[in-house]
Symmetry: C2
Subunit: 248 residues, 2 copies
């Protein structure tokens, strides 16, 4: 859907985001399809947990970059919660800790996850997200977050698949995805409320739609790097295969 | 004090910051001297409250910029508290609200304070602080915050002077400064702890000392603009003189 000289009615604008998401979001990526069909080896699944942790770890940076560009205090008072949710506070664990628990549930120590070598394509995609939020308007950063419109469905599919196809994963490690099922919906509602108020011109809408597409691209590029390294290239062996023996 | 090829012992480095602060911090500025001697008119004091609000309002932005550049999660989990302290959360007022109460205590409505025309020199100084934190390393942003080493003494002098010389200010409006007396000390300790761990090379120390000096410069420049407009220029009349009549 293209946006002309006049802004779309808000509902149509959200529908445009959903349509772009439906064909661009990484639920369609071959790596996720393998995951959902139960076709990843334990080493490949672990490799994804490790590489995706780098994405998780930049989320507070991109949210802080959005804050740093946002002169609207009411928006900041809402948005800062995302930083707290992922980083936690001195006395409160955050989403990053939940992801490290996922790592443990698949047989990786927190040190292994935190100190892993990150693939160049993964690093590039994640760092590009932070750079985007630093160098674009805060409203575009908010729009980029709106892949949360599609995330809960993906998380539900993923949870079901992980429980069914990968029974060797300790179930308590899946708490991150259970959290995101609910939190993702709340985050999406909150971001939509902000766009409803501040994304009002056709130009705003165009820039926000582009930001959303950029975000789907970077998620896709991240998985491309993982897929190429751990599925396509070589014989499917990963640096994380031998952990299997320790878990069995 | 200059920093040579080798880093100073940490205590000497902090002493170097204090020495630069002792001769550069805005407690020496003629505008603050007038304030502390009880020589500001109500209109001049109100003008300062209004212009300084712009500084207050950019603090969450510069702290978010520091966060956005900081890959050290433990530092972020500490530093994010500063954003919460000034912005507050959905259900919690922050330092910005306390400053608006100060405005009310001197006879200004929150709308008057929030929508006031900001002097170019004030805007430039405050915006430069945000830009500095965006474009420099997070450690330099932390160092720039360390005017909190000198702030509690200034706040004590200011509190005493405001209570003694300006009895027309409603005392409950001074809560912001009472808060900062304590919070400033905590903030300074916290920032020093971070520098102790991460500001370790001579080059780190030089960059941090320069950041600290930059910060004293911007605070000074802010007051220069206020002093020139409301004290030096013209007859000492300000746009806020007529509020007096309403308060009396």
């Amino acid at each position: 859907m293209t946006i002309g000289d006049r802004p779309l009615p808000f509902d149509e604008f959200v529908e445009a985001l959903r349509q772009e998401g439906a064909r661009r979001y990484h639920h369609l990526h071959p790596f996720h399809q393998l995951m959902h069909e139960g076709k990843l080896t334990p080493g490949q699944l672990r490799a994804w947990v490790v590489q995706r942790f780098y994405y998780q770890s930049v989320l507070p940076l991109k949210d802080a970059a959005i804050l740093a560009n946002c002169p609207v205090r009411e928006v900041r008072r809402t948005w800062v919660r995302r930083i707290l949710n992922h980083d936690g506070l001195a006395d409160r664990p955050g989403g990053l800790d939940a992801w490290l628990k996922l790592g443990e549930a698949v047989g990786l120590t927190p040190v292994q996850v935190q100190n892993a070598e990150i693939l160049p394509g993964v690093r590039m995609a994640c760092d590009a997200y932070v750079a985007f939020c630093k160098t674009h308007g805060w409203l575009e950063g908010v729009a980029a977050s709106l892949t949360t419109l599609l995330a809960p469905d993906l998380h539900q599919t993923r949870l079901t698949a992980l429980r069914y196809h990968y029974p060797w994963i300790q179930p308590e490690g899946l708490a991150y995805f259970e959290w995101r099922l609910q939190a993702g919906r709340q985050d999406a509602e909150e971001a939509l409320d902000i766009l409803r108020r501040y994304c009002v011109t056709a130009d705003d809408q165009r820039r926000c739609l582009n930001a959303f597409i950029f975000k789907t691209d970077l998620l896709w590029a991240l998985l491309d790097a993982v897929y190429l390294e751990y599925v396509v290239r070589g014989d499917g062996c990963t640096p994380y295969d031998d952990v299997t023996a320790r878990m069995a």
